[in-house]
Amino acid sequence: MSALEALLLAFSGDLGTAAVTVLLVGPMVTAAVMLLVSAHRIAVVLGATANLVSFGAALVLLGHRPPLNIFLHVDDLNIALIALNAFVAFTSSLFSAGYIEHERRIGRLNRRTSQLYHAMYQGLMFSLNLGLLANNIGLMWVAIEMATLTAVMMVGVYRTPPALEAAWKYFILGSVGVALALFGTILVYFAAASEVGDGMEAMAWTVLLTHADGFDPTLLDIAFVFLLLGYGTKAGLVPMHAWLPDAHAEGPTPITAVLSGLLINVSLYVILRFKMVLAANPHVLPPGPLMIGLGLVSVLFATLMLYRQGDIKRLFAYSSIEHMGIAAFAFGMGGPLANFAGLLHMVMHSLTKSAIFFAVGHITQVKGTQQLSAIRGVGESHPVLGWGLALGVLAIAGLPPFGVFMSEFLLISATFARAPVLTLVLITGLLIALGALLFRLNEVVFGEVCGVSLRRDGSYVPLVLHLILVLVAGLYLPPPLVAWFQHVAAQLG
């Protein structure tokens, strides 16, 4: 380690800055290379290596934070998410290696489309890293926009009518969301410019936070409405969610995992950034009720929709909407404990849901279909997959010993006494969701075996790794993570 450290120090003089550079430049360069290299094997190895390096850089970042700068920064809020992001990106790239190979073998992807896929994957990672690292609200917007565009590319990569349809829907709804978010960003700039003066300073989030108490509250209020609806579109909050199930169902499963595990998380993270600015201004209308409202609507809508799904990926896509709703509810309720619970929930959902999609990806490939009615008895025909899926579903449904249980426990115990009726609505939603998921699980994993069973190689390591992490998190959280989240939770108001 010391040798590498020395090397990095020699390279940039500061380990943290070096890590940030690696996180941003790495994926971008890889994406560029991928557009040139068409050999699948090289692309796979290169992609996984790049993501591994990014993950290493994210780990370095945990210990060495670079100095603040008005474009990029690393603080308590994004540091854990950067590490999470890099980790899930790495495991997903491992998963996607086998997945894409299979897709090429059965002819759903050709050389060109898989090349595009690999390049866009790295592009998406770059934009997500940028979104997380950005200290500039304009940069954040650009990053999210880029992430959307790259994701659209990958959703439509199969070139089938439903895939194009899904990509198109995603593109249009995403564009409108982007427009709304931009308008909100401009309004924030207006509010900031009259206080801190024109120029780049007025777009730096850290500057905004320190001067927020002098901003015009009306502008901030209106801005937040636009930002919430705009970025909320990307986060999949109801009623802006319409793109999400289609995009999840029609894209390649590794992308589904990344969408659910990372993209919607980063969008919610951006909303949090703005919420922190609002929280620092005592005169604004509290944004809490708005987020609670959207959160609860999302939870109820998504849980009820769970009953109406015939496609396994859409099913879990709606579950993602539900969990974003839960997180939004948590941040809307506010207070150190609920905010903490919300942050934890984001992390846990990301890990768990990507694990579920890993399992689902394997299952859809061995069964050759995404139809729930044709996928039955997986626990018997493919024990590891079946049990992995079962554990993942139990985890996402909030049952111990998994981490989601902890976040839901914290959330409900912290909020029930404050808002019994609202929390009861949330609890109802959770129970309905459990009912739906379990109903499907019963058939998918434990039903009578039916249908084909195709050959599929590929590693179960990502699935198992995620499940172990979620399990450990249910029992023990590392103290630094707790300290960061507690600090952020206090700032979130």
């Binding site: 319409a242 409900i412 006494a417 009861l424 019963n442 434990f446």
Partner: protein, 672 residues
Amino acid sequence: MFLPFVLCLVPFLFAAGLLVTPVASRSWASFALYGVCLGVTCLLLAVGVLGLAAAGEGAPPQLMRLPLGLPGAGVGFRLDSLSAFFLIVVNFAASAASLFAIGYGRHEHAPGRVLPFYPVFLAGMNLVVVANDAYSFLFSWELMSVASWFLVIAHHRERENRRAGYVYLIMAAISTQALLITFGLLSDFGRVLDFEAIRTSPHAVDIARLAVLAAVIGTGAKAGLVPLHVWLPLAHPAAPSHVSGLMSGIMTKVAIYGLVRIVFDLLGPPEWTWGAGILFLGGITAVVGVLYALMQHDLKRLLAYHTVENIGIIAIGLGLALAFRANGFALGAALALTAALFHVLNHSLFKSLLFFGAGAVLTATGERDLERLGGLIRGMPVTAFCFLVGSAAISALPPLNGFVSEWLALQAILISPELPQWILKFLVPMVGAGLALSAALAAACFVKAFGIAFLGRARTVAAERAVETDRTSQAAMLILVAACVLAGLFPGMVVDALAPVVTMLVGSHLPVQSSNPWLTLVASTPERSSYNGLVLMVFIALSALLPALGIYGLASRKLRRAGAWDCGYPETSSATQYTAASFAQPIRRVFASVVFSASEQIDMPLPGDARPARLTLGMKDPVWTVLYRPLVETVNAAAAVVGRARTLSIRQHLSLVYAVLILLLVVLALWQ
């Protein structure tokens, strides 16, 4: 000093579950795993006994904290007299189940689906009773549910079992969420999750009431209080029999532990309304549970419904204890609580025993349906004997243990006219009548269960050919039989052992029994009431021996075998015997026509018609029709309404977003 042992032993169970997973299908795996479980539970039992003994001598509760779980708070554990008592209850039955399973588990055709989860289930139950903060409590609580859910769907190929698992896990989740609400209410907005702190902090009246309501729903859903019992008769029979025994015998008791811990311990001084509510539910549960049981002809389901009844009896005791305590009648509270806890112990013993018996029958014949059994007493004498003792005990017949707790509960009811509240004055005698009714119906039910399954003539070939179960299974059942008999003959010892628990919870206890002459059990004062199972047993034995000796010595001792008399019209077909359904017919007519809207349709073909006559029984479960079906239908209807959103076009979705935007802006404009 004993608590660390518990925490050291429990990981062994987890490890056993983990290690057995890859080798579960080997023949020795089941033997090894159940052996380990037996050893660990025996040790845990010893810890419980030592802990209770220490508490009896006035030792303070032991506390421990591990840096796991929730950030900042850690995981707290506590071993006090209540925990120790429940450790004993849990681990005694658990060790018996493990012993039973050493033999029984060999017949398991899906060992990979049972072995890994069995020790986790045991560990979960053990952790619940020593948990000392809301997080670890609920964590272990839910762990117990999830592990047992896996066991319920172990034989997942049967659709019935999958449905059972589904209903079970949903109800378990409802239970957890309700308890989460309880803790949410008590924890000062989630800040105080430690039981020690919850116990000492004051709670507002309304908050406490809501918390009790949520706690009753939460623990009731797990214990099987009507109307939250629906999962229980589905899930318990679905699991392998030793697990059914654990689920019915001790998991429901762990739920009772939760109720006692929250309502008696954490919430501080009770209100009488809590007691009235629990009492009412208990009364309903006791009667409805046994009526359900009478209508069943699936042996394990019948037993499961009986669990519902017994939970009702326990709840009656707990409710009375709360009512007494709220009114400051320390002795009454102690009496009622002792009755309830005694019944907890009893039920864990005889319900495990009965399920083991059912399991032995199941392995010997492959049948759970009473209508396809019969005459097993000849092929399986030991099992029959054990099942008979269990049946007698659960039917509250003296001198066995079931009678003692029932007797104590009735004694508690008899001192309740002192309670000043009018509602209680009306409620308590009603509940008393319900208790008496349920005891009488339980006897009828077990006459049916034992009589149809073990007596008479075999109704199928499988029943005809049944052979006795293996030795270890027999040993497990015989141990439980001995425990039932001993607890019935020496109830004073159990009551004395319960004294520290009762003192901790209601501040008073029954008079010390060990100093009574002839080991008599005295509820309050000897003038008022007393009971001596031992003397009674001796009397019965003597008075049976006396005429036997007399007749054998002075009159005839000859015995001839001949065909059955049957009023001179013996029928050779075993189908002419009374069946479970026909046995229950009078009671069905009396009770079930009202409660279950039972109907009988007779299809009698005309003379010359060759088709057989048919009697069709129709039965509706009121709880399903009134409570759950509408619930399910509401969710389905709502899902259908929401599902229409699926058909919206992109433009319509955009309009929706736009509408929200405009709405929010309008709100903002109005607000300013």
